[in-house]
């Protein structure tokens, strides 16, 4: 079975001004969104108390908010948790003065009980599933660590590509990686979905996935340059995209399917992860086709940059 025409030769690069324009717009828009709307950071990063409750009957989020308002928890964040019966409530310890002892130390069990009684006051049958507490210091240190980790990934990958390929490939990969990461996070800013540690981890997994895609195209670019007698960069880049197109899309579909399964079956704990991956797969696939190669073209990649430097070590060029 073949879905894609093996002899397709769509002129992707002809669209390059248009696609790069869109990419720049998306990155700019994402940055603006992240800056203005901000991310809906989860407990991991903000610190505070999270109480997860389960209703016996399905419940309206607005009603939960109202019940919390009445109970004096007006500042809390309420989120549905997969389905209509489970609700996550996030609040800061200072929202519940009753649970603070005279030294400012919070009694988390007390907070959970107070929230529960506020909800019960609205007349619904509700139980606590779990509750957690993270201090704000821990949250802040995690955020810094997370940013370092993302930077480490991007620089490490760039260095590898520089050594294995060539400078221009490393730069092109770096730019597309930034695009993918920023746009993925931007979508979180737009939708205000909760951004927690799992989501951060999956953003890094997106970077890993998307670089995988680029490397496959780059590998073909290198191969075609080396084989071609008359190497017109634009034509070679275009041929590389076309001949890897089938693989790019099939792999994305298969990975996407597994993430869809995870989303549907895995429960609310992994929702954030699965959604980020699905967004990232779409963004990464599109950027492999429409963004990485135009950048490579503009950076002026040429045949002579890609010929093996030392004749006595052709091993490096083609490992069996």
């Amino acid at each position: 079975m073949e879905i894609f025409n093996p002899h397709s030769n769509i002129h992707f690069l002809r669209l390059r001004r248009f696609t790069i324009g869109i990419a720049i717009f998306l990155v700019a828009a994402s940055l603006v969104l992240i800056y203005t709307k901000g991310l809906n950071y989860g407990l991991d990063f903000t610190g505070g108390v999270v109480v997860e409750v389960q209703y016996q009957q399905s419940v309206d989020i607005a009603d939960v908010r109202q019940a919390l308002d009445k109970g004096g928890f007006g500042h809390s964040v309420v989120q549905p948790l997969g389905g209509t019966r489970e609700v996550l409530i996030r609040l800061q310890p200072k929202d519940d003065p009753k649970a603070l002892d005279k030294n400012g130390k919070v009694n988390v069990d007390q907070v959970a009980q107070d929230v529960l009684s506020a909800l019960k006051a609205a007349g619904e049958k509700v139980t606590i599933k779990q509750h957690s507490f993270v201090s704000s210091e821990v949250g802040a240190s995690l955020r810094t660590k997370g940013i370092y980790a993302v930077i480490f990934v991007i620089i490490g990958i760039m260095a590898y590509l520089w050594i294995r390929f060539e400078r221009r490939f490393a730069v092109a990969a770096l730019l597309t990686e930034i695009h993918d990461a920023v746009v993925t996070v931007g979508i979180f800013a737009l939708t205000q979905r909760q951004f927690d540690l799992t989501v951060l981890a999956s953003v890094m997994a997106v970077v890993g996935y998307s670089i995988n895609d680029k490397v496959v195209v780059f590998d073909r670019v290198r191969e075609l340059f080396r084989l071609a007698r008359k190497a017109d960069p634009e034509e070679i880049l275009n041929r590389s995209i076309n001949s890897t197109l089938s693989r790019t899309i099939i792999t994305s579909l298969l990975t996407g399917i597994t993430m869809l399964c995870l989303f549907l079956m895995g429960g609310p704990v992994v929702h954030g992860f699965a959604i980020t991956m699905m967004i990232g797969i779409v963004v990464g696939t599109l950027s492999s086709i429409f963004i990485a190669s135009p950048i490579l073209l503009w950076l002026g990649v040429s045949k002579k940059d890609l010929m093996p430097r030392t004749r006595d070590n052709p091993e490096l060029a083609r490992r069996p």
Partner: protein, 624 residues
């Protein structure tokens, strides 16, 4: 086929066989059980087994199997379901009392022959079995204070011994360092040389001085401070482990994280308040001689003038007591403490055993003071956070209460009793805290998560389902799209899952929900190598190569791409691993191992099967 050597077939067979062997234990579901181990003084033996059997029979609780492990000194009793397990645990606890630790446990059902080759099932994270998670931070300032206070004493006696006259030796008012105030510049130089040679860990500096006050400041060096902090962590980890053991949790996780944090994960514990009280508080005792008469104490309270050799304390009732500044014995010199009822007074009591140094001092003291009073100060340190000038400052509040001021009935040294405690519960709680040893520095809980057991069961059920459905979906798609080559890839993908699980079990990875997400993602991405190979083979066929040449060229050309793509991906997984907080680390580790196993299964295993299927035959076409 000539380009696939025999040794590689052997390698594939051996690796896959080992993979199956080490992955299989995970199929065996754990069984709810109750584990009984002995506290000090008690033994776990056949008699206990019979006794527990009797207790369970009396309550009509059906037992699946009971195992006596004489080597590990524990008795393990398995039950059919968690409800029976809970009932049994309550019944046994009540009957055995606090001589034994009764803990809920999920016992492995892996057959012995598998366990003998160290094939065990993966440990489940808290999110998969329920429990509590604490992140605790050690108070570094308290560590420094404690050490500097000790140095203050040492410097004083050092100067006294060498007849260097000083005005004052005290902790600096800003909380860092010890200030010694001397009478002359010459004295200060002498003192500096003396201190430097005796205590190389201190860095010395001359402070402000006027006519007759010459200040010498001694500070702990940074290296020493770091060493102390590390020691404090190590000791805390040890103490926490002891305390948690007496809480009766099986397989607790207690680990250092970073410079000053400790992670504590207790599977199956639901009463967080109880656990927290034990983890957060530090208690110690100080045995001090009584000073003066009761009237003196009331006088001191009224006037605020306390004799220089004494300190003013209060009893629980609020009554003032004067005790000598000299400490006879402290809590960290305790070897053992157990609660009971004092046969003479009938009040709850704690029996204490001291180490030899403290025993000697106690003997000297009691020999000279029979009939006099000796006070027991209960010192409790409660960590707390205060907001000062808009900044959060972590402090700890120490409350000191004289819990007992009793007449010394006779001369004793290493064994004696403290009586007069409020209730049997208070006695056993105090004994428990004392037994666990005193903490080197107060710790504070900075993160806390509680996961209910039903949520854990729910999570693991959903996680396994997601893995299986995800796997099935990919198997189906690959099989349809790439026909025979797809089926070969399917076999490889299945073995990838097996190998991944085997490696994770072997190196002892704790499986968490993000870890399961990592497994699903790995399955989705592992197929990529096969997509690359199949697409290459198709391309070669289109270019007019013969089937066998196409297979060879397909694998050869795809390998370079697969390698590059996977190395970059490994870098990403590595960052996730090193970023390493709890569950995210689990995700990174899973991804990392998954990429490595997929390299083997997607390339080597599929190549072996393909070579076996197509080798030595004349082929007209390929099913790809």
């Amino acid at each position: 086929m000539s380009d696939f050597p025999r040794w590689k077939y052997a390698l594939v067979i051996v690796v896959l066989a080992l993979g199956v062997l080490y992955a299989v234990p995970n199929i065996f579901q754990r069984q709810p059980a109750v584990q009984i181990s002995a506290n000090r003084g008690a033994t776990v033996d056949q008699a206990l087994d019979t006794r527990v059997d009797g207790i369970l029979k009396k309550h009509h609780i059906p037992v699946v199997k009971s195992e006596l492990d004489s080597k590990k000194h524990r008795l393990l009793i398995r039950f059919a379901n968690p409800e029976i397990q809970l009932k049994a645990s309550d019944a046994i606890k009540e009957a055995l009392g606090d001589k034994y630790v009764v803990a809920l446990n999920l016992a492995s059902t892996v057959p012995d022959w598998l366990r003998s080759i160290h094939a065990n099932s993966m440990r489940l994270g808290l999110d998969l079995q329920g429990g509590v998670h604490f992140l605790m931070e050690v108070d570094q300032q308290a560590v420094r204070d404690k050490q500097e206070n000790a140095y203050t004493e040492d410097i004083r006696s050092l100067l006294r011994d060498h007849r260097i006259r000083y005005i004052n030796v005290a902790k600096a008012s800003n909380g860092v360092g010890v200030n010694a105030v001397l009478r002359s510049s010459a004295d200060r130089d002498k003192a500096a040389t003396l201190i430097a040679s005796n205590y190389p860990d201190l860095t010395l500096a001359n402070g402000a001085s006027n006519d007759n006050r010459y200040v010498l400041t001694a500070r702990l060096s940074e290296d020493k401070l770091r060493e102390l902090a590390q020691k404090a962590i190590t000791q805390n980890v040890g103490t926490l482990r002891n305390r948690i053991n007496s809480l009766g949790v099986s397989e607790p996780l207690i680990q250092q994280q970073g410079d000053s944090r400790i992670v504590v994960e207790l599977a199956g514990v639901q009463d967080t308040a109880e656990a927290k009280k034990l983890l957060g508080a530090t208690a110690t005792l100080e045995y001090r001689a009584d000073y003066g008469t009761p009237q003196d104490a009331i006088q001191a309270e009224k006037t605020g003038i306390v004799p220089p050799e004494a300190r003013l304390y209060h009893m629980r009732s609020g009554q003032p007591v004067l005790l000598s500044k000299k400490v006879i014995a402290t809590g960290d010199q305790l070897l053992n403490a157990s609660s009971g009822v004092d046969p003479q007074t009938g009040t709850p009591s704690v029996s204490v055993t001291l180490n030899s140094a403290a025993a000697k001092r106690m003997f000297d003291f009691t020999s000279a003071n029979v009939g006099k009073l000796m006070g027991v100060v209960y010192k409790e340190t409660i960590p707390e956070t205060k907001v000062i000038d808009g900044k959060k400052v972590r402090t700890s509040k120490t409350t000191e209460v004289v819990i007992n001021n009793a007449t010394i009935q006779g001369v004793f040294s290493n064994k004696f009793q403290t009586t007069g405690l409020e209730s049997p519960e208070a006695a056993s709680q105090l004994a428990l805290l004392l037994r666990s040893g005193s903490l080197a520095a107060p710790v504070q809980i900075v993160e806390e998560r509680v996961i209910g057991p039903s949520l854990g069961r729910d999570n693991i059920h959903k996680g396994v389902l997601a893995v299986l459905v995800g796997l099935a979906a990919v198997l189906l798609c690959a099989g349809i799209y790439y026909k025979l080559f797809g089926l070969v890839a399917d076999i490889a993908l299945f073995f990838n899952l097996v190998l991944l699980v085997a490696v994770m079990s072997m190196i002892g990875v704790t499986l968490t929900m993000p870890g399961i997400a990592g497994i699903v993602l790995t399955l989705g991405m592992a197929i990529d190598s096969n997509v690359l190979i199949c697409e290459r083979v198709r391309e070669e066929l289109r270019n007019g190569s013969t089937p066998l040449a196409s297979i060879r060229a397909g694998y050869e050309k795809a390998w370079s791409t697969i390698l590059d793509a996977n190395v970059t991906h490994l870098l990403a997984a590595l960052a996730l691993m090193t970023m390493g907080t709890g569950s995210i680390k689990g995700f990174g580790v899973t991804l990392f191992i998954g990429i490595l196993t997929s390299l083997f299964t997607s390339v080597t295993v599929t190549h072996a099967i393909t070579a076996l299927l197509h080798g030595g035959r004349k082929l007209k076409s390929l099913s790809v």
